[in-house]
């Protein structure tokens, strides 16, 4: 893949991004810009693969038959904003001053975070093992973040946007409130300060994990078998989480919070595997509550729900 990407990345960088950065007087950041071009291209490939693989599967074996896919359109926008790097870039610029100041101040006072490799240097010789351990830790954190997104009324006020999609498809994974994205990114940034970051060499495995998350949201009627359902989050497992009356509601009713590995739900008693599927969405949508149909309306309504929750009212 690099043989294909490198000339394209170099061309786009040298004929577009680098001259632009020079013109703006931002030469100090050209190396970051070069890396960003790579990530955007990978995101583009990811989106093409999503369409090429999951769209035919949704047409072949849908869980739900839809007369129109119009409601899916906005989720496409969310996905493009995420996977092509726009939202991650905004989040980076918002969080960077904070993480930078924290890291710099701590180190000037002699404190240096302890990374996984400091604890177990042998990981330098086993990059795949290092990747898997980081992935498990990140997924474990993802599980608990997700549980709190449902358990805390104010966080559910934001996270509800993700669950308000009643035509859930492989595009739904990135449909989130921006403040919800910011909070999650902030938690992972603090984690990165303390425990280090996974090796950046394994780009394709990282891409595959994101595609698994898209698959989990897809409208594809497939199951991974008794063992497989317990090893990797399947579309069925995650659709149960999004089902009205099964997994979407705030509080004790919710289930199946895992992002990649259901082991966390099994260990902490929140796994459901064989319930019948329900329509996706949030219960109050059945009585007419709107979560908005446009990007900015959805973001605004999320903030209004948050305001109510912070006043102690039901979001």
């Amino acid at each position: 893949m690099n043989d294909l990407l490198t000339p394209l990345q170099a061309f786009l960088f040298e004929h577009g991004v680098e001259p632009l950065f020079q013109w703006l007087g931002l030469q100090a950041y050209v190396e970051n810009a070069y890396d960003a071009v790579y990530l955007v291209l990978l995101g583009l490939i990811e989106v093409i693969l999503l369409i090429a693989i999951f769209r035919p599967l949704e047409a072949w074996r849908p869980v739900e038959e839809w007369a129109s896919r119009r409601a899916v359109g906005l989720d496409v926008l969310y996905t493009l904003l995420h996977r092509l790097g726009f939202i991650p870039l905004v989040l980076f610029f918002l969080l960077w001053p904070i993480t930078y100041s924290l890291d710099r101040t701590l180190r000037l006072h002699g404190f240096m975070p302890l990374s996984l490799e400091d604890i177990w240097p042998e990981l330098y010789n086993h990059i795949w093992l290092s990747f898997i351990i980081y992935l498990l830790i990140i997924d474990f954190m993802g599980y608990w973040i997700h549980r709190f997104q449902h358990r805390l009324e104010w966080w559910w006020a934001l996270h509800g946007l993700h669950h308000s999609q009643r035509q859930m498809s492989y595009w739904t994974d990135d449909r989130n409130h921006l403040l919800d994205d910011l909070l999650t990114a902030a938690i992972f940034s603090v984690f990165a300060l303390v425990m280090g970051v996974p090796p950046s060499q394994l780009v394709i495995p990282m891409m595959l994990t994101r595609m698994v998350q898209s698959l989990a949201h897809s409208n594809i009627n497939i199951r991974f078998g008794s063992l497989g359902e317990r090893l990797l989050v399947s579309p069925y497992f995650h659709r149960l989480h999004h089902g009205i009356g099964i997994g979407s509601e705030s509080g004790e009713l919710s289930c199946n919070f895992a992002i990649l590995f259901p082991i966390w739900d099994i260990l902490f008693g929140t796994a459901k595997f064989n319930e019948p599927l329900q329509a996706t969405g949030i219960r109050d949508q059945l009585s007419g509550r709107s979560y908005g149909e446009g990007f900015w309306v959805q973001q605004w309504l999320g903030l209004k729900r948050l305001g109510r929750a912070l006043q102690g009212l039901k979001a």
């Binding site: 690099n2 490198t6 000339p7 990345q9 170099a10 960088f13 040298e14 680098e18 001259p19 020079q22 007087g25 030469q27 100090a28 050209v30 190396e31 070069y34 890396d35 790579y38 930078y100 890291d103 710099r104 180190r107 000037l108 240096m112 990374s115 490799e117 400091d118 240097p121 330098y124 990059i127 280090g196 970051v197 090796p199 950046s200 060499q201 780009v203």
Partner: protein, 316 residues
């Protein structure tokens, strides 16, 4: 027959060794590419740590040190074979590194966290941690090791640190986005590769002032002496060229093209061959300096940055 069998067995079991390797740091994917210095064939590619950017040999050439900025460690390699020998952990965010000529100090710039750390070179114990304004990038020493000079890429300055007191002696504006820095062989001037000003600013370090600008090309970036105590090469990363500078007249001798964002360089000890990392193309190019022609293009990893081979030209 049995003897022949054992000889064959041993030959298969023995580790492959090469007379000399070129070590290439791939900052983007945290790996090292080893290239046979004489056949130009890639030998090996292995993980070293998170964001290795720069490397330099110990003063006695007994080891090559790789600075892993995000892993917070220094990795010691055999300078001839490229094999990892040991790792010193808990060295905070080392980006660009250097030993003072008197072998007393080891200086590490933290580009990301705006800081310079001074270590005792004998045991790598921290002596001073000096916060600076923005993005300490490259460094150079004067010949008596009393000062270290640091380019500040983000705040467009040059800082001088007194190594005896470990205090900042002075800071001056030095042009838009300074990067590479090198002392001229006569110890009179500092040459600063100023990326945003497309050339070199020459600084009289005793007077702490710029005395001359030498236009070389867009994104003037990093230096490497030719080894004749007279000429120095500079890579112009944006212009995709390399320029040769006469350090006695402080003037441009000539410029030749090298595509793909030429960055760090290494010159053979006979000064006839140049190896250069082409940052944007995942390549190292080898150039015959007698006619400026590219003789070899060697594929390496993502964002190749520092490179080294032990039979290099003198550093002046």
């Amino acid at each position: 027959m049995r003897k022949l069998f054992f000889i064959l067995l041993l030959s298969f079991c023995a580790p492959l060794t090469y007379a000399e390797v070129t070590v290439v740091l791939n900052s983007g994917d945290g790996t090292i590419s080893l290239v046979d210095r004489h056949t130009y064939q890639p030998i090996k590619h292995f993980y070293v740590g998170k964001e290795p950017h720069h490397l330099m040999s110990l003063p006695d050439n007994s080891a090559l040190i790789v600075a892993d900025a995000v892993s917070n460690d220094l990795v010691f390699l055999n300078p001839t074979t490229g094999e990892i020998e040991k790792r010193i952990a808990r060295i905070s965010d080392p980006y660009q590194i250097g030993f003072s000529p008197d072998k007393k100090w080891f200086v590490a710039n933290s580009l990301r966290l705006d800081r310079v750390d001074i270590y005792r070179a004998t045991d790598f114990s921290l002596v001073a941690r000096i916060p600076l304004s923005s993005m300490p990038s490259h460094l150079a020493f004067n010949q008596d090791s009393s000062m270290v000079f640091i380019t500040l890429q983000g705040s467009h300055q040059l800082a001088a640190i007194d190594l005896k007191t470990q205090k900042v002696a002075w800071i001056i504006p030095v042009g838009n986005t300074p990067a590479g820095i090198i002392m001229t062989p006569d110890n009179q001037h500092l040459l600063i590769g100023v990326m945003g000003d497309n050339g070199i600013n020459v600084v009289d370090w005793r007077q702490a002032r710029i005395i001359k600008h030498i236009a070389t090309g867009v994104g003037a970036h990093n230096f490497m002496p030719l080894g004749d105590q007279h000429h120095i090469l500079i890579s112009n990363r944006g212009a995709d060229t390399i320029s040769l500078i006469d350090t006695q007249t402080l003037s441009l001798t000539h410029t030749f093209p090298v595509p793909g964002g030429p960055d760090d360089m290494e010159v053979s000890e006979d000064s006839k061959e140049l190896w250069v990392t082409c940052r944007w193309l995942r390549e190292v190019r080898v150039i015959n300096l007698t006619n400026d022609q590219v003789t070899h293009v060697i594929p390496v990893g993502r964002s190749p940055h520092g490179l080294f081979f032990i039979s290099h030209a003198g550093r002046q």
